[in-house]
């Protein structure tokens, strides 16, 4: 954890930042409730569950930086400082925190990969991410907690729960295809 970042880490971080971007381009599926979900948060969760807390945080932060300097990589083709201007921006700003928490849980938790990774993805991609996003909404809109929960919380929970389960399955598939690939558990 305290080791210095070497070339391999750097490349891995850049690759996963790119992976988040590419997963944002995957055609989105629409839930029964009519709310579209993209695979972008899936990418954030994977940063944590695969790379671990530190590298996952850096990969997500690098992705955020790429978006902020103007690359239209955020799901829906958004980019530039404009992404900070909506009350929902906490969902973007919270990405590195989400990846970090997911990574931390993955590193600490024992048990089957799919289960641990799903729990980690819930902790990072839902608990931690909403922990940033909802207060952000309340301060910037501004709004009360009830409005924040109704407009910025509840509608996205079903999609994010599905993605957390998928993150678990994807992490497990990766670990089975390439034993030793999970840096979060080495």
């Amino acid at each position: 954890m305290t080791k210095k970042i070497n070339e391999k880490d750097l490349v891995m971080i850049a690759l996963f930042a790119a992976l988040i971007a590419v997963l944002g381009l995957v055609p989105k599926l629409t839930l029964a409730s009519g709310i579209p979900i993209t695979a972008q948060t899936l990418g954030i969760m994977l940063c944590g569950t695969v790379l671990g807390a530190k590298r996952g945080f850096l990969a997500a932060a690098l992705f955020c930086l790429l978006v902020l300097i103007g690359l239209p990589l955020l799901a829906g083709g958004r980019g530039g400082p404009g992404v900070l201007m909506t009350p929902w921006a906490g969902f973007f700003v919270g990405f590195p925190v989400a990846a970090f928490v997911a990574g931390l849980v993955m590193e600490k938790m024992r048990g089957p990969v799919a289960v641990a990774a799903s729990v980690a993805a819930v902790a990072g991609g839902i608990v931690a991410l909403y922990g940033v996003a909802l207060p952000w909404y309340m301060v910037t809109k501004p709004a009360g907690p009830l409005e924040a929960a109704l407009v910025a919380g509840v509608p996205f929970v079903p999609g994010d729960l599905i993605k957390a389960v998928l993150a678990g399955l994807v992490t497990q598939a990766l670990a089975r295809a390439r034993p030793g690939a999970l840096l979060s558990r080495s």
């Binding site: 070339e7 391999k8 690759l15 790119a18 992976l19 690098l62 829906g76 390439r178």
Partner: protein
């Protein structure tokens, strides 16, 4: 992919990236301080004038870039209609549109190279404190390079899925093999990086 670049050369291109970002920050603070409906209407008028100045083509591109914001605006509007607070709703929606439009404007007229230049400049204090920023400055072009490469691999994996499936879209199912391919690449790229100086930045280690 939606490109956030201007289709025409504008007078704004000549301004320095740092100046544009500074003005944007200032304008955003003003927009958030304006609580009245008329203040927000005036704000939007100023933003529209800024878009109109370089011509119709530029303005059209600006409107197209705003499309993703529509969903957010509708959500907020719907909430305020339901709770019957239309004035507050209008203030928030107008502020949202103006602030995003203004930020998009800066993005559209500032080439990536200048943004990177600004970033390098902004990191100078860190370097002065002895923090090495070389890793970050290597990671950005690397990630930008990897995006089309991984995108192409994702496309090929989706195609391989379709070739053996009754369904056309692979969706999230390619996430695991794509992440695997990314990790396979990491070793080779890291070696290539090290062979050409790597983190040491050519100063030798």
């Amino acid at each position: 992919m939606l490109a956030l670049t201007s289709p025409v050369k504008t007078p704004y291109h000549g301004l320095r990236a740092g100046l544009k970002l500074g003005l944007l920050a200032l304008a955003t603070i003003v927009l958030f301080a304006l609580g009245s409906l008329w203040g927000q209407v005036a704000g939007l008028a100023v933003v529209m004038a800024l878009y109109a100045l370089p011509g119709a083509r530029f303005a059209r591109a600006g409107v197209a870039a705003l499309r993703p914001v529509a969903l957010f605006a509708v959500l907020i509007a719907a909430f305020h209609v339901v709770t019957w607070t239309p004035v507050e709703g209008a203030v928030v929606v107008l502020r949202l549109v103006s602030a995003v439009a203004l930020a998009n404007l800066v993005t559209m007229v500032t080439p990536l190279s200048e943004m990177l230049g600004f970033l390098h400049w902004a990191l100078a204090p860190l370097r002065a404190l002895g923090v090495k920023t070389r890793g970050l400055e290597l990671a950005i072009p690397l990630a930008i390079r990897f995006i089309p490469v991984l995108g192409e691999k994702g496309r090929a994996l989706g195609e391989s899925w379709r070739a053996r499936s009754r369904h056309r879209r692979a969706g999230w199912r390619i996430a695991a093999p794509l992440a695997g391919l990314a990790m396979d690449d990491a070793d080779r790229v890291a070696e290539a990086l090290r062979a050409r100086g790597g983190m040491a930045g050519g100063t030798g280690k």
